[in-house]
Subunit: 145 residues, 12 copies
């Protein structure tokens, strides 16, 4: 089984950007931890980061070749109906994660568009959001397998 | 005379995606039908699909070399002020089409941004939206020619 | 096969009223063109205009004896839940048309009530909205026949 | 004592229209049941149905010659300030009824305009809304007699 | 010169309806006063009252044969886009009057739709709203004559 | 067959509280009338009043042992999503009643949350709302029996 | 009998300011016409213009020594609750006038705060709004005298 | 180390209530799984369910004697500012979980009040939301220990 | 004369909870100060704290046996229509107090529901809000005695 | 120590204006009572009333020479961001008072702008609001002295 | 050529007021810098500060005798339609400046009323906003000269 | 020192697009003027234009290698939370410029998202917005250097 992990806009800056929201790990650190967790579950993983809405939609489309999608849409979670539509098209399980607790931040981040198109959402746990997201995703993949 | 046809995000998935909204034809099927209809009118046509807002804006800019633009902006119809601005810049006739009847779907799709910058809008007729769109566009092109 | 064409409030003034929105043809001119187009498709047609919400609802009810309905609800498109309910009751295909591009006008006209109850909507093409509406309707009628 | 029963727009289609909301009885069936119930209470009754806002207002005005009004304003319940004003003018008891549970339907039907001008409202009980409405109305009429 | 005076819904009940808002004169009383005032100005007048939106729109259309329109749209002032559109089509001067001070009543009456399509609005002066309306209208008619 | 009757917050004060809205009967008077009406229908009844949201939810859960629920949620009708969820869980018929005509009171009472989860709603008839509610409920119980 | 006429902010610029809204007469011209009209009615008049909210409120307070107040609050009509409160305190008749048709301008001018505290409002008739306002005011003063 | 697990209103019905949202396990099943997971982490656990807002707040207060709180506030997540305040008072880590994906349900459930006062939120994974919630909570407890 | 003092949800935590909003005194400290102040006025007092909406409503009902009610509804001030209704039922003077200045906090706390049903409101003065509240209440009690 | 007392617009009319909201004392009566209360506390006081926003802001600026400010901003409490900014600039304690219970009046008065910039707010106690305001202010002044 | 510089409410406090928003310079410092910059451009300048809306409008009117207006409307930028109207009347170039970045502050400051009536707006650069404003204004004045 | 200048969507069309809003200079003309101005300040500059949100975010990230960023986000200023987040991550000074006065255009352009993350904003001065933006930016860079 194979998982795709997609990181949205500005996540390439992790570790330098507002650590009170996003923690101190770099994206490479997170990808490493995610890969280890996937290995623990016996599933392979490919991680990608995109700042653009279009490339992110492309990557969502390509994830159909795998068995599950873990996505941190970043700010597009709150503004991109097109990305939400892309997720809606997938037949595989999807988990959305956020490093910060978006519900405790500014009001624009309370509007969850992509979340309507996924199975579950995990927010606020910094890097651990990703790791629990992997656990959740693998669990769904096994159920639908 | 020459027409540009632009398909927005997720339309590359046509035929597999929610057929109750979008019908069962693939994008290639639609392009083929559109090309035939254009041939019937004696106009040439070039069809492109983009998932990104930026490439779509680029393509709108390039359409100025033709005589008319037929665009299905997909979800960007409801969120992209930048795309609406791009359409506003064009001097050639523009028709916007949608496969599904956006007025009968969720409230976010009732906000029509790009539609403010076009001559006419055709929604809900699946592939036929495109074909009638070609007819409408050719008619406008002949009038402004 | 038989089509009903219904024109809503103020459309009897066509040709004299705000030509930048509605064009220069009179309602009789449009009915003539519509009748010709129907003849081209081999379907008969009956055209009626009403300024009142009640008579328009009556006429929608009576259209059930035909095979398709083409309606320009005028301003009732934006305010009449009762007319929308009437359209909802019909089992035959319905196309809604508008002469002007309602999406580019004042905000009250962005609320599309009757559009939720039809198959497709064509706006902004002046008299051509009706003619493409006939084409769209006949196509739907043949499919459901 | 005499009751007027007024049915609003589209209720002439009862029995054929969306039975999950409106039940399977025709309007004639309902009028028959209402008449029987009135007979049981020893009051006479006259039933009318109108699709137009104007005729409905006229009929409300004329109901002043009776002793009570039972009205199902249909969709006008949610949009017609003029009908609400007409009801406001009456000195006799008024009961508003709805076949469907309007509170459980789309948001437009949550705005109750005419209900502000009546004594009581009964919704969701299909034909029984009318019969209980008669009971309620007679009870009010006796109290104010 | 000739004036049309149109009274909207429920105004036929004047004299009996909520005198704190509408005064104690009947509609016939008002028409008599209006006719006298018009005579004073040397203009003829025709007064009509309609409860329906459709007949009111018809009458607005027919007023084009006169030189000025005085209209009390009643509750349609706040809900009827179709009536506003009808007024927008006229080329003759139009004055809107209200017996009550609509700005001091419930919030629904603060939305003035038809007022956008007239020259001037006079509210709150009971029957005197009509008489000053005649004065205002004649003044505009002379200027545009 | 057995009915549960639940009275929400502040209804224990009936008879002393704002009689223009709620009438002059005490809650005991209403329970007595309700019990008599149930007896007339041959069904047993248990009446309870709770000021708390939690005990009211508990009681809704327990009503599952009966055949129908008549509930006056009082102010919780407008604010309690948790109570609405509790009603949603029941499989037996439910009727919601209000003593006052909530549609004619302040705007907060126009938001009907629990009403979305019941079969029918009866408002504004003071104690008679309960009695007609019993009639309506028994009728539904017999149909589903 | 004595009338106070108060002109609000920016009205000192009349004649030079946006003539399509406000006409071509200067404020002195209007005061002259108003004085003549008052003389015609046999009432004395004092006219004042203030750009400040405070001085305008002071002047409203002082108008209590007269028998009627004619006020054009200018933009304060739409923003000043304090001015509305000042008007609310007066026991004498008050008429509000506007040169332009505020209902046909930008949405901020659709919120009428001071209008809630006056007897009648006359808008859109340029200088004639004032003259008819005098007529209306004198009529009210005679009635309450 | 010790964890408190709190279940909000209607969760005692689990297994019988809308399984498409909430899954087929009973609350006892979930508590059993949660207890096992806690045992796996070497932490003790106490699970409680309350339908009332008050008892839930009491229990939140008492959880201060433990080292972490896992709460499924049910519908109170969307309406209870008092519960959010209670959570705000705690100094120990808190995780909020939901069985269903609240973002994909009705709009009232998009307003997340309690979520502003917790570290992380996990939604949509049915019973697994709880188990991952335990993992997340233990991780936070270890970090703050 | 006798006063009831009611403290709403989370106030039992006073002294430990967000001292920048609520001060450093415990609830017992406040009750002691309140009792002393009442003694100074020669009135007896009973103080109660409840986290639940239901028990708080019960206590409001019971306060009718005293001569005045001092209530800090906590967060229920902003969400509980049922509590506001309970206060509306009382005939004795009521003062609402808040420790923090709710107007300077988050927007949800700007909606004051219970305040509509009391004589006066005192906010932002920490424990002194209660003491001045006692003074205010005693003053009202003497006036109505 | 020295207190400044500022009265906002229309408060010079006290005693004549809407006594149900504002009581029957004149402003001079209130100033006399306030001065006596200040004397009781051993602090001097200067009272001023202004109808204009500008003079009120000036006076707020000048109050910096004293030790505390008691302000009744009248209607400016709800509309003046400039006055709120002026209060924000002060370093001395500020108490806002209102004679009427603004929370129980029209919705425009529920928006509290100046209250965001003060320590505490006392409303609804008529002249007593001022006296308790003095007590509150002196208490804060002593704490910060 | 001559420039008028107008400072709105509370700007007389500059240097003492919230330096994180407004910087540490006094208004006299800014006027000195502005005068120097104007001298550099060879234009004369007159600087005035007013706390009142009325005096500010007066000063805007008088600025017509100069060739350009530089205005910092302070909080009136967000609330004063009357000031916006005054600016609308001017024929000379106008630049609006703000010391702080109003877009990054509270939501009330996001509503820009006066900005609709000026050529350009410069915000957030503290004293430099004024100096660049002078440069911008002189540039516009030369173009229109 | 080095500046990055970023132009957002559709700015490549400058000179041809709506000159009433954007002026008649091409983007190359503006870049040339900007480069000259930078030279005057002794700083180097690199100018880029992107139509896509993603490339623009990439470029913002890369600007961290310079000492200041001047950005015209075009329509993304009003819709892109992701771009605003990217700006928020930068530690160098940022100035946002707009050619047109966005505050005087349609309401969608009144929502300023990116402006929350910059030091200052300059709008409405056409090409001069850029040149003053360079001046402002250099000034900030020198201060932070």
């Amino acid at each position: 089984m194979k998982i795709t992990v997609l990181h949205g806009p500005n996540l390439n800056l992790l570790g330098t950007r507002q650590p009170e929201y996003y923690g101190t790990l770099s994206l490479a650190d997170i990808d490493e931890k995610v890969t280890a967790r996937c290995g623990h579950h016996g599933v392979s993983v490919a991680c990608h980061q995109y700042n653009g809405e279009g490339p992110l939609i492309d990557a969502v489309h390509q994830s159909i070749e795998g068995d599950g999608l873990l996505i941190n849409p970043g700010a597009y979670a709150h503004t991109s109906l097109a990305l939400a539509d892309a997720l809606e098209c997938l037949q595989i399980p999807i988990i959305e994660v956020h490093l910060s607790n978006v519900h405790a931040r500014d009001a624009m981040r309370h509007k969850m568009l992509t979340a309507r198109a996924v199975s579950g959402v995990i927010t606020g746990l910094k890097a651990n959001s990703y790791l629990l997201g992997v656990d959740a995703l693998v669990s769904l993949m096994k159920r639908s397998a």
